[in-house]
């Protein structure tokens, strides 16, 4: 432990650590381009200048180890002049095309210019022009003019993915980021460079020109694309006279699970959340009023009392599973979660992606829900009604020789045939909250519940009147039901923010 003085305040910090790390950790604003916590120091942008007592010139905070008793100034006319000069140099060839730049609004250059810049341009020669719309591959578009050559992207491919597709070519004014001739950026995590890029040089082809970022609302959520359960931000916006649209997923820092990154497949999985606009409640293939279809579900359950099976998806949240299980006990319903397509061996790798594609399959054994095909087969032989919850793969049970009534409760469904008694749409992943247990036993809460206009209720809201109580929110489920489970001892709803780990 060392004590340093920053702008007159004494801070207790780790000796030998990088100065910028500790300053950022103490919420002290240090402008920087090339430093990134996951990529470490590089020292090429010179933006993070601080004055250190006893040193002749200002020093870069990202390459200065902390010593006991350091006295540091991050503000003041002197250091601001230095920062302004460096920024002027960084911006010397920058095209001021903020109106067409997707980064505008979350751009470090813009922010720093407003903080310490605000100078008039002194450039008398033409700016060096670069190529504007370079397709690097993997949905990443490069604008060479906007680049400040911080090399975060180069270091990402070198250190994190270890694929080294990117590099810096040429010298001085003509330096550009590029791939090797004939090669393309092609790794399953490539789109993280878009997030890493502090300026608008690297933009995502998927998000390009879709929305200006200042319109977007960010909500915290959990990715449900595989069992890793990466922490993400869901950026969504409701345009006037239109429904809520999700525009992108961004990684959210979670040291225990995904760090600063997510995979491209998970990042692009938001598309499925926007698709259910034309999804209506169906009764034997005919579009029905939502409320009527909801009543129909209850009537079906009552009609086939004791002769029903629930086949649930392993993507349901912990809370939903508990509630479904309770309903199954109450109505003497067989409960199974057999899912043949759960594992996808071509998907996983050794970084974040994993073969198990279900978001919450770890909860099934914890709650004692059966997943075996034999038990499902046994149940199918004696029931008259199968309710698929959170999934629509009716062919699975049909292949097992089941020919009677089927009801489907899911958020996405292509089945419209008349054999299905009832299709009741439920709120999709980002439109309802829920807790998930990931591959390693970390319990996370996805608090993203974007209101949708088409009025699909959450599964919890559909179950509450059938169960005859008023438990609608996850917090109420935790307090009323999950409290009793032995494995979840010590885990409360409020502690989910800290991502607790449980024994699997």
């Amino acid at each position: 432990m060392a004590h340093i003085t920053v702008d007159g305040t004494v801070l207790e910090v780790k000796e030998g650590a990088l100065l910028i790390e500790e300053l950022l950790a103490n919420n002290i604003n240090i402008p920087h381009f090339c430093y990134h916590p996951a990529l470490g120091k590089d020292g090429n942008c010179r933006m993070c200048m601080v004055e250190i007592e006893g040193q002749k010139r200002p020093q870069i905070a990202c390459d200065t180890p902390i010593k006991e008793g350091m006295i540091i100034r991050t503000k003041g006319a002197n250091i601001d002049r230095v920062k302004r000069s460096i920024l002027e140099l960084e911006l010397i060839n920058h095209p001021i095309d903020c109106p067409i730049c997707d980064q505008a609004g979350e751009c470090s250059l813009q922010n720093y210019y407003m903080d310490v810049g605000l100078y008039e341009s002194r450039l008398s020669t033409p700016k060096t022009r670069g190529e504007k719309h370079v397709d690097l591959g993997a949905n990443v578009v490069l604008d060479q003019e906007r680049c400040v050559l911080c090399t975060r992207c180069v270091r990402f491919t070198k250190n994190i993915t270890k694929t080294s597709e990117l590099g810096v070519l040429s010298r001085a004014d003509h330096s550009v980021i590029t791939t090797f001739p004939g090669a393309k950026l092609s790794n399953p995590y490539a789109m993280n460079v878009v997030d890493l890029c502090p300026v608008g040089a690297l933009t995502s082809k998927d998000f390009r020109f879709q929305k200006r970022v200042w319109f977007l609302n960010a909500k915290e959520a959990i990715c449900d694309h595989c069992a890793r359960g990466c922490s993400i931000f869901v950026d969504h916006h409701k345009e006037k006279y239109k429904d809520e649209v999700i525009y992108r997923y961004r990684p959210r820092l979670n040291d225990k699970i995904n760090g600063y990154f997510i995979c491209d497949a998970g990042r692009l999985s938001y598309h499925k959340e926007n698709e259910n606009k034309e999804f209506h409640a169906l009764i034997r293939g005919k579009i029905s009023e939502y409320e009527y279809a909801e009543g129909k579900l209850l009537r079906l359950l009552k009609r086939h009392l004791g002769k029903t099976a629930f086949v649930i998806s392993s993507n349901l949240s912990l809370e939903e599973m508990v509630r479904v299980q309770k309903l199954a006990k109450l109505y003497e319903i067989a409960l199974n979660a057999y899912e043949p397509e759960r594992f996808d061996t071509s998907f996983g790798d050794d970084f974040l992606k994993c073969n198990d594609r279900s978001a919450n399959a770890r909860a099934l054994p914890l709650l004692g829900i059966d997943t075996s095909k034999e038990m499902l087969q046994e149940a199918l032989n004696r029931v008259e009604l199968v309710v698929l919850i959170g999934r629509s793969d009716a062919n699975v049970i049909k292949e097992m020789g089941y020919t009677q009534n089927i009801a489907i409760l899911c958020s996405r469904c292509e089945v419209t045939c008349k054999e299905v008694e009832l299709v009741l749409p439920i709120a999709s992943h980002t439109r309802r909250e829920g807790s998930f247990i990931n591959l390693d036993g970390y319990v996370q809460h996805s608090a993203c519940a974007i209101q949708s206009e088409h009025g699909h209720k959450t599964l919890l809201a559909i179950l509450a009147p059938i169960l005859g109580d008023t438990i609608f929110t996850c917090k109420e489920v935790w307090e009323a039901e999950l409290f009793f489970y032995e494995v979840l001892k010590g885990v409360s709803f409020d502690s989910l923010k800290t991502t607790p780990k449980i024994a699997l």
């Binding site: 109106p99 200042w214 319109f215």
Partner: protein, 164 residues
């Protein structure tokens, strides 16, 4: 220091009675009525559809128009600054990729709902490209349906600057 005592009005009997003030007011309105019935009326009204107003200044905020580049293409780059600045949220833009080499981005759709517009001019102020202006001088816009008042990109481009 510096306290100014302002005499209060309304405390004399004459003022409290109100009637003299009321009659005074009625005298004023009657004198207007009689003047306007006499040979020298002071009525400034113009007979509008036949007589057009002649005092619309250059700075008058009329119906919007989208300006063009020298080559005649749309100047707007769909940066959404106007839509952001708009207090009535009446500007609806959809952006698209522009592939003709002039620029990278342009509006696919640029609609202004004149029924929602409050003609404040904030969009003109906000535009970094001088792509939207309100100098068309059109002060009266007529439509038969609500949809007629939603001006499309083509309509906005067709509006011309009012020549002095």
């Amino acid at each position: 220091m510096g306290i100014k005592i302002v005499p209060r009005h309304g405390n004399t009997l004459k003022e409290k009675l109100y009637l003299p003030a009321i009659f005074g007011g009625m005298k004023t309105t009657l004198s207007h009525l009689i003047t306007n019935l006499s040979d020298t009326p002071e009525i400034k009204t113009i007979n509008y559809p036949e007589e057009q107003p002649h005092d619309i200044s250059e700075r008058y905020r009329g119906v919007h128009r989208l300006t063009k580049r020298d080559d005649g293409s749309v100047r707007c780059v769909a940066c959404f600054m106007c839509a952001t600045a708009c207090p009535a949220e009446c500007i609806f833009i959809e952006a698209e990729e522009r592939n003709d080499g002039v620029d990278e981005k342009m509006p696919k759709r640029f609609d202004i709902d004149l029924l929602e517009c409050v003609f404040c001019g904030a969009c003109v102020e906000a535009c970094p490209c001088d792509a939207i202006r309100m100098d068309s001088g059109i002060f009266s816009f007529i439509g038969k349906k609500r949809e007629d008042f939603v001006l499309s990109k083509e309509q906005l481009l067709a509006n011309e600057e009012k020549k002095a």
